[in-house]
C-alpha cells in the first residue's frame, strides 16, 4: 500500500508538468496583452514596455515557462499582475471558502443521493423509484445559475428566511484564523455566528450539490440493483437475515465502490471552484476569482490555480483508491497488481 501511494504521488510530477505546459500556452497565446489592463487607460507605450520588462514578459516563451516552473517548484507562484499580491496569498485567502462549500455540497449530495438511490433500487419501478429518477433528471438538467437565482429569489427575496449570499453576516464575522468559518466560529464559541454560517451555506450547497446528488443517485441506484441481484444476497435472505441488514450491510457496502469513485470525482471538481455558484451567491471562493483573473490576463494567478486544481484532482483519486481498501478489504494493491 505504501509503495503504491508513493508511486501515485510520483506520477503527479508528469501530470503537473503537462498541465502547466497546457495552461501556460493557452494563457500566453490566447489571452490579450495584460499591460493595458494592469496599467489602465492612460498608460503610455513606454510605460507598457517597461512594465512588460519588469514582469519578464519580454523574454522568449520558453524562458518565461522555465521561470514559472522554477518558481512553482520552490512554492513561489509569482505575484498577481493586477493586485500586486503574492499568488499564494491570493489563493489561500479564498481557498478555505471553496473547500467549505465543496464539502457542504458533497455531504448534502452524498447523503441524499445515496438515500434516494437506495430507496429507488429497493422499491424498483414503484412511485418512489420514478420520483427519485425524476428528481435526479432534474438535478442533472437544471443549470446551476438558474437554480441559484431561483433559490435566492424564493428563500431570500420572497420569504426572507435565508441570506441571499456571502459566507456570514459581516457583523458576526470571526477574526481570520483558519479561514474555515465553521471551525473558526466553533473555536471561539460563538454559537450565533456558527448558526449563521450554516444558514449561509444552505442555499449555495443545495444549488451546487444538486448536480452531484443527481449523479450519485443514479450511480447508487444502478449499483444497488446490480448488487441486489447477486447470489450472495439471495443466500443472505435465505439465511433469514432481516431485509434492513441485507440492504445496509451486504448490498450497500458493495455498491459503494463505484459510488465512492463518483463522489471522489465530484468532490475533485467542486474543489476546483464552482464558478457559477460562487458568482450567484457572492461566495468568495477560488473559482470565481480565477475566471476574473483570466479575463484580466493575470497569468500568474491562473497558472497557479490550475496547478493547484490539478494537484487536488490527482490526490483525490488517490484518496478514493485508499478508501476502497476500507470498503472492500479484498482490494489490497498487492505486489502483483503494483
Amino acid at each position: 500500500m505504501f509503495k503504491y501511494i508513493v508511486k501515485r504521488i510520483l506520477m503527479l510530477i508528469p501530470v503537473l508538468l503537462g498541465v502547466s505546459v497546457i495552461v501556460f500556452l493557452i494563457m500566453r497565446v490566447f489571452s490579450p496583452d495584460p499591460a493595458p489592463i494592469v496599467l489602465g487607460q492612460h498608460a503610455t507605450v513606454e510605460a507598457a514596455n517597461a512594465w512588460r520588462a519588469a514582469n519578464g514578459l519580454d523574454a522568449p516563451l520558453y524562458i518565461q515557462f522555465f521561470n514559472f516552473i522554477k518558481g512553482a517548484v520552490t512554492g513561489d507562484l509569482g505575484t498577481s499582475y493586477y493586485t500586486k499580491t503574492p499568488v499564494t496569498q491570493e489563493i489561500f485567502s479564498r481557498f478555505p471558502a471553496t473547500i467549505e462549500l465543496a464539502l457542504a455540497a458533497i455531504i448534502f449530495a452524498s447523503l441524499f443521493g445515496i438515500i434516494i438511490g437506495v430507496v429507488s433500487a429497493v422499491k424498483k419501478n414503484s412511485f418512489f423509484d420514478h420520483a427519485g429518477m425524476v428528481l435526479a433528471l432534474i438535478g442533472v438538467s437544471m443549470p446551476i445559475f438558474w437554480l441559484g437565482i431561483l433559490l435566492i429569489i424564493l428563500f431570500a427575496g420572497v420569504w426572507h428566511i435565508l441570506p441571499s449570499g456571502g459566507r456570514i453576516d459581516p457583523l458576526l464575522q470571526p477574526m481570520a484564523a483558519s479561514g474555515f468559518y465553521l471551525i473558526d466560529t466553533l473555536a471561539i464559541g460563538d454559537t450565533e455566528a456558527f448558526v449563521d454560517v450554516l444558514r449561509h451555506l444552505i442555499l449555495p450547497a443545495l444549488a451546487l450539490g444538486m448536480y452531484s446528488m443527481a449523479i450519485i443517485t443514479r450511480m447508487t441506484r444502478s449499483s444497488m440493483l446490480e448488487t441486489l441481484n447477486q447470489d450472495y444476497i439471495r443466500t443472505a435472505r435465505a439465511k433469514g437475515v432481516s431485509e434492513g441488514k441485507v440492504i445496509s450491510h451486504h448490498a450497500l457496502r458493495n455498491a459503494m465502490i463505484p459510488v465512492t469513485t463518483v463522489i471522489g470525482l465530484q468532490l475533485g471538481s467542486l474543489l476546483g471552484g464552482a464558478v457559477l455558484t460562487e458568482t450567484v451567491f457572492s461566495w468568495p471562493g477560488i473559482g470565481n476569482y480565477t475566471v476574473e483573473c483570466i479575463l484580466k490576463s493575470d497569468f500568474p494567478v491562473v497558472q497557479g490555480v490550475v496547478l493547484l486544481i490539478a494537484c487536488i484532482f490527482v490526490l483525490i483519486n488517490l484518496v478514493v483508491d485508499v478508501v476502497y481498501a476500507f470498503i472492500d478489504p479484498r482490494i489490497k494493491f498487492s505486489k502483483k497488481e503494483g
Binding site: L77, K84, A97, A156, G157, A176, L315, V322
Partner: protein
C-alpha cells in the same frame, strides 16, 4: 456501526487530502485578512447593525493605495479613508478646499502655493504637513514613479518639483501652465494623501494597509467578501454619523437587489432600469445620480465622404437623439446636447447640435451621393451605454434607412473592438468616455488627441487644437469656461461627433437610510449617511 465508520473514514480522508493539498502547493499560508477587533461582550449583533452601514458593490477593490489602482470599486472605498488637497463640490465638479485651506497661482501659471490646514493628523497618529504632501507627490514623480502607478502621469505629469516651504505651506512648480491640475488634485485616484509612515512601513504599497486623513479608518479586508471601516474619532472635521461601514462584494446584479430587500445590504449600486420597480415595490428607494460620461457616435473624419462637415451634419440630422435615448434607456440616461455633462464648467445651454430633420437629411445625403455607411460597434454594455453598442447601432441604422442610407454594422467584443478602432477601417464608430477629473479639457481633448484610440473621430483641426492648448494655460474662471463653450460650438458646427447621451448611475437604498447620495465622479461619501 460499521457503515458509519466507513462513511466517516471517507469524509476524514477527503479532509486530510485537502490539508495535504495546501502543503503540496507550497506551504500553508494564513489568511491575508487583517485582524478584526473582537466585539466587546456587551455588544449584540442588533446594536451593531444599527451602528453599521452596509454598502454592496459588484466587485473587490483592486487595492486601497490611491497611486496603484485605477478602478471605481477601489475609489468608492478610498474616498472614505483618504482626502486630497482639494475636493469636488457636492453637485458639480468645481473644486473646493479640503486639506489645503487656500491656494495661490502665479501669474504665469507655473507655481501653485497651497496653504495647508493646521493640526490635521493621519489615522496612524502622524502629522499631515507639507513634508507629507511632498512625500506623496514625489513618489509619483520621476525617478520614483513606477509604471503601475496608473494615474501618476495623468495627475502629476505636469509637475516639475515640490517644495515644502514651511510646516504648512507647499509650493508646486510646474513644467508648463496646466489649469486642469487643480481638478486633478480633487480626484480619488493618484491625488489622495497617504500617511508617509504607512508607505514606509509597507514597502511603498498600502493596498492592504490604507492610512489617510479621512472620516473613516480601515479595519479589515476579507478578500472576496468585504472591507470593514470604522469611524475616525480624531477626524479634523465633522465626524462620521455612523460608526461602522462595511463594503460588501456581491457580483451578481440580481443577488444585490435581493440582498437589499432581504436587509443584507443598506445600499447597493450597479443596478439597471429593469429592476427599479422591483426595488421600489419592496419599499426601498432609488437614487439617480448624474454621470460624468458621454456616449457618442463618431465619424471617421479622415475617410471620404466624412472628411466633409456637411455630410457629417446631414447624417446627424437624420437621427432623432431625444427619441432614441428615451426608447433605448427608458429615462435612465439624458439626451446629450453637448460633449460635456451639464454640471461641468464649460457647459452652456446655448450649445446645440444640428436639429433633427429627416427630409433635409435625406435630400442632403442624396445630393452628396451617400448610399451606404459602414458602422462598427461593440457588443457589451458600457458604463455610459447600458443598452450595449449593438442595440445603439441598430437604432441608428433604422434612422439612416429612413433617410435613404443603408448602414452595415460589424459588432465586436470590447477588446477586439478597440483593435478595430485603432485600425481605422470604418465610416462611423460608437464610443464613450467616463471622465477622470471633472475638467472640461478631459472631454474636449478627445477631439484633439493624437492617439486614435482616444480621438476616434481622428479629427485634426489646427484651430481646435490651438483652443485646446489655450484652455490648458488659461486660469480657472469665466474666461476659461468660455473657451470650452466655444470648443463645444465648433465641434457641433463641424459635426465631429453626434453626442447621444449622458448615462445616469442608479443606486438602491433602504428607506431607513438618510442622506444617501452618489457623487457624479462615481464615488460615495458615507460620513454624512445615517440609519434611523
Amino acid at each position: 456501526m460499521k457503515k458509519s465508520k466507513r462513511l466517516l473514514a471517507a469524509v476524514l480522508a477527503a479532509v486530510i487530502a485537502c490539508a495535504g493539498l495546501t502543503a503540496c502547493a507550497g506551504g500553508s499560508k494564513s489568511s491575508t485578512a487583517a485582524e478584526s477587533g473582537a466585539a466587546s461582550a456587551a455588544d449584540t449583533s442588533k446594536s451593531r447593525a444599527q451602528d453599521t452601514l452596509i454598502y454592496a458593490q459588484g466587485a473587490d477593490p483592486r487595492g486601497l493605495d490611491p497611486a496603484l489602482v485605477d478602478d471605481g470599486e477601489s475609489a468608492k472605498i478610498m474616498v472614505n479613508i483618504y482626502e486630497g488637497l482639494l475636493k469636488y463640490d457636492k453637485d458639480s465638479t468645481k473644486v473646493l478646499p479640503s486639506l489645503a485651506e487656500s491656494w495661490d497661482v502665479s501669474d504665469d501659471g507655473l507655481t501653485y502655493t497651497f496653504h495647508l490646514k493646521k493640526g490635521v493628523k493621519f489615522q496612524d497618529g502622524t502629522d499631515f504637513n507639507a513634508e507629507a504632501v511632498k512625500f506623496n507627490i514625489d513618489r509619483q514623480l520621476a525617478p520614483n514613479v513606477t509604471e503601475d502607478m496608473g494615474y501618476a502621469g495623468f495627475v502629476f505629469g505636469s509637475v516639475k518639483d515640490v517644495e515644502a516651504v514651511d510646516e504648512n505651506t507647499v509650493k508646486i512648480n510646474m513644467k508648463a501652465a496646466c489649469t486642469p491640475f487643480l481638478n486633478n488634485l480633487a480626484m480619488c485616484l493618484g491625488a489622495p494623501m497617504v500617511s508617509p509612515k504607512a508607505l514606509k512601513d509597507n514597502n511603498n504599497n498600502v493596498n492592504e494597509h490604507p492610512v489617510g486623513t479621512g472620516p473613516y479608518k480601515f479595519v479589515s479586508w476579507t478578500k472576496g467578501q468585504n472591507v470593514v471601516l470604522t469611524r475616525n474619532d480624531e477626524y479634523w472635521g465633522d465626524k462620521a454619523l455612523t460608526k461602522n461601514v462595511i463594503f460588501k462584494f456581491i457580483k451578481d446584479n440580481s443577488a444585490r437587489v435581493v440582498a437589499l430587500s432581504n436587509g443584507e445590504a443598506d445600499m447597493i449600486d450597479g443596478i439597471d432600469a429593469t429592476v427599479v420597480s422591483q426595488i421600489e415595490s419592496a419599499g426601498n428607494k432609488i437614487y439617480e445620480a448624474p454621470g460624468m460620461n458621454i456616449n457618442y457616435l463618431a465619424y471617421n473624419t479622415t475617410k471620404a465622404p466624412f472628411t466633409d462637415a456637411k455630410v457629417r451634419a446631414a447624417v446627424s440630422q437624420a437621427i432623432n437623439v431625444p427619441e432614441l435615448v428615451k426608447s433605448l434607456y427608458q429615462g435612465y440616461a439624458d439626451p446629450a446636447t453637448s460633449v460635456l455633462p451639464t454640471f461641468m464648467e464649460g457647459y452652456d445651454e446655448s450649445i446645440k447640435q444640428v436639429a433633427f430633420d429627416q427630409a433635409a437629411a435625406k435630400s442632403a445625403l442624396a445630393a452628396a451621393g451617400v448610399k451606404t455607411i459602414h458602422m462598427i460597434t461593440y457588443t457589451n454594455p458600457r458604463p455610459y451605454n447600458t443598452a450595449n453598442g449593438q442595440a445603439l447601432a441598430e437604432a441608428i441604422q433604422g434612422y439612416l434607412r429612413n433617410a435613404g442610407v443603408e448602414a452595415t454594422i460589424d459588432a465586436y467584443d470590447w477588446t477586439t473592438y478597440k483593435e478595430k478602432v485603432k485600425a481605422g477601417d470604418y465610416d462611423v464608430c460608437f464610443y464613450g468616455w467616463t471622465g477622470d477629473n471633472g475638467d472640461p479639457d478631459n472631454f474636449m481633448n478627445l477631439m484633439a488627441d493624437k492617439d486614435p484610440t482616444m480621438n476616434v473621430a481622428r479629427y485634426d483641426n489646427a484651430d481646435f487644437k490651438a483652443m485646446i492648448a489655450k484652455g490648458l494655460a488659461t486660469k480657472a474662471g469665466d474666461e476659461r469656461n468660455k473657451i470650452y463653450t466655444d470648443l463645444e460650438k465648433k465641434a457641433a458646427e463641424e459635426a465631429v461627433w453626434l453626442p447621444i447621451s449622458h448615462g445616469k448611475t442608479l443606486c438602491g437604498y433602504r428607506s431607513n437610510v438618510k442622506d444617501f447620495y452618489y457623487h457624479m465622479t462615481g464615488v460615495v461619501f458615507l460620513s454624512g449617511v445615517s440609519k434611523s
